[in-house]
């Protein structure tokens, strides 16, 4: 599914929402480009090949000494 294209104002609001309030317009343009790149990478992930039980590569694991 194609992502709706983000706008400068949207990415500015998103940045403010996570506390990134000191970004200049130049920084926000960078964030917009970077976020679009990340969205393209998401689209390239072959997630349709995953089954419901496919586990992440790293899962929480206790060491033996934690049972003591």
């Amino acid at each position: 599914m194609e992502e709706p294209s983000l706008t400068f104002d949207e990415v500015k609001r998103m940045a403010e929402g996570i506390g990134m309030t000191r970004l200049t317009d130049e920084h926000l343009q960078q964030l917009l480009r970077a976020t679009r790149v990340a969205q393209a990478r998401r689209a390239a992930l072959p997630v349709a090949t995953l089954g419901p039980a496919d586990e992440p590569a790293h899962v929480f694991r206790l060491a033996a000494e934690d049972s003591r």
Partner: protein, 464 residues
């Protein structure tokens, strides 16, 4: 006496142990070379000749009384400046960490110091091992010794440049998406990203926890195996460290490739991406050479390169942003432009995308490792192109993504970049040799057989 700049670790170790070479004279020769030439290459962020001479004098006294510690005793080395050396700043080549003095040695630093190595200084990196080459940082970027107008790769830029330039026989680098193998490829040296968990990351500034590897850059394959042998091993203080017993990395050197099965992942550099014709020709010629030496060479297929890269970058940027979020809020202006933009890519990755990328990591890795039932090692391109000009941002942006290294950060496999010749413009060409987890000795065996059958390692860049 041979020009000391080009001594290998193995050669130097023989001379030092036999007391035919003084560690102090060796260190002074390299100090002199660095002082004369590093202003052209910027390999060092912090050059430490006083510490080097202190180490060298200690090594000399110990060797003279017969207390030789091993192949790195009295041998100079450098550390990428995201690796801690107690009492010195670990800057990550960034304004943000200019005053960040390390309280303790990194695990690899401890091992090199315990082995009697001679510490020459901290080496240039891309900012936070991701943003470079950059001209808007407190230090200039390292340059390529084969042509200083060209990029030397990164992010372990200084490690590649210093080793290739004859400043050091060995250096430590790190690799999250290819950052040991990129400078190794661009500078014409050997660079290994070992199996994930083989070398401790303790005391190394993280880029992305589940993809970070500490590795070695040297001019020869034998030296690389010697250095990895020294720095490998379990560390209970590194949560990613493997309990798997390390095997001798030099154990199989000299055994040749007769009968070994080599799988070439050609689609990475001919179909998924189209490499520069000179790079493809260099790798093809290397495959013919290995076949001439008795290996069975055939093509193999794995997932498309773009899927590996998407998986690597989704994980990498998510984990990296977690490290950098506080600074991005408080000091965004203190990053260089390249690091800021590349790190920001992780700001809005959805949690489900990160988890799905790690789920894909497992399935893709399982399938990749299954290929090794029919082969002993795999070979593919490292960079798609020879080094571009360092002052051409468009060429940097274009070539930065044109690489086949990220798949092996995803799989955690050992992957070694070795030179396969030179372009018509005199810039290094390279291939990667990839093994099953913990099969470094076999990877080095193949690389060593190829290196011994060619003359690339005997060429030196025109630094003078």
């Amino acid at each position: 006496m041979t020009d000391l700049s080009w001594l290998t670790v193995a050669e130097a170790a023989g001379l030092l142990r036999a007391r035919k070479l003084s560690p102090v004279e060796y260190a002074k020769a390299l100090i002199d070379r660095i002082e004369r030439h590093d202003a052209k290459l910027n390999a060092f962020v912090r050059f430490t000749p006083d510490l080097a001479l202190e180490d060298a004098r200690r090594a000399e006294a110990e060797i003279m009384r017969g207390a030789w510690r091993g192949p790195f005793h009295g041998v100079p080395y450098g550390l990428k400046d995201i690796v801690d050396y107690a009492g010195l700043p670990t800057t990550a080549h960034s304004k943000i960490l200019q005053a960040n003095v390390a309280a303790a040695d990194a695990a690899v630093t401890q091992k090199l110091r315990a082995a009697g190595g001679v510490f020459m200084g901290k080496l240039s990196t891309h900012e936070f091992a991701i943003g470079g080459p950059s001209f808007d940082l407190p230090w200039p970027p390292a340059r390529n010794p084969w042509n200083r107008d060209h990029f030397c790769g990164g992010s372990s830029s200084g490690s590649g440049a210093a080793t290739a330039a004859g400043f050091l026989p060995a250096a430590i680098g790190t690799d999250t998406g290819g950052s040991v193998r990129n400078p190794a490829s661009m500078c014409g040296v050997a660079g290994i990203k070992p199996t994930y968990g083989l070398v401790s990351r303790r005391g190394v500034l993280p880029l992305a926890f589940s993809l970070d590897h500490v590795g070695a850059l040297t001019r020869t394959v034998e030296d690389n195996a010697l250095m990895l042998d020294l720095i490998a091993g379990h560390d209970s203080l590194d949560p990613g460290s493997s309990a798997h017993a390390k095997s001798g990395c030099t154990a199989e050197l000299g055994r040749g490739v007769e009968g070994l099965r080599i799988g070439v992942i050609r689609h990475f550099y001919t179909r998924d991406m189209e490499a520069d014709p000179e790079m493809t020709a260099g790798i093809d010629a290397a495959m013919r050479k290995l076949a001439d030496l008795g290996a069975e060479v055939r093509e193999i297929e794995t997932a498309p390169l773009g899927e590996w890269v998407a998986c690597n970058r989704t994980i990498l940027t998510s984990e990296a942003f977690a490290v950098h979020e506080k600074w991005m809020r408080e000091r965004p202006q203190d990053y260089g432009a390249l690091a800021r933009e590349r790190l920001m890519a992780g700001a809005f990755v959805r949690a489900s995308d990160y988890v799905n990328a790690t789920r894909l990591r497992r399935t893709m890795t399982d399938k990749f490792h299954a290929l090794f039932s029919g082969i002993d090692v795999a070979v593919t391109a490292s960079s798609m192109d020879p080094a571009c000009r360092i002052d051409d941002p468009k060429a940097i942006e274009y070539t930065y993504a044109r690489q086949a290294r990220a798949p092996f950060n995803v799989t955690g496999s050992p992957a070694l970049s070795v030179p396969v010749g030179f372009s018509k413009a005199g810039l290094p060409l390279a291939m990667q040799i990839v093994g099953k987890p913990f099969s470094e000795a076999l990877v080095y065996r193949v690389a060593h057989a190829y290196e011994q059958a060619t003359q690339w390692v005997k060429r030196h860049p025109p630094v003078e």
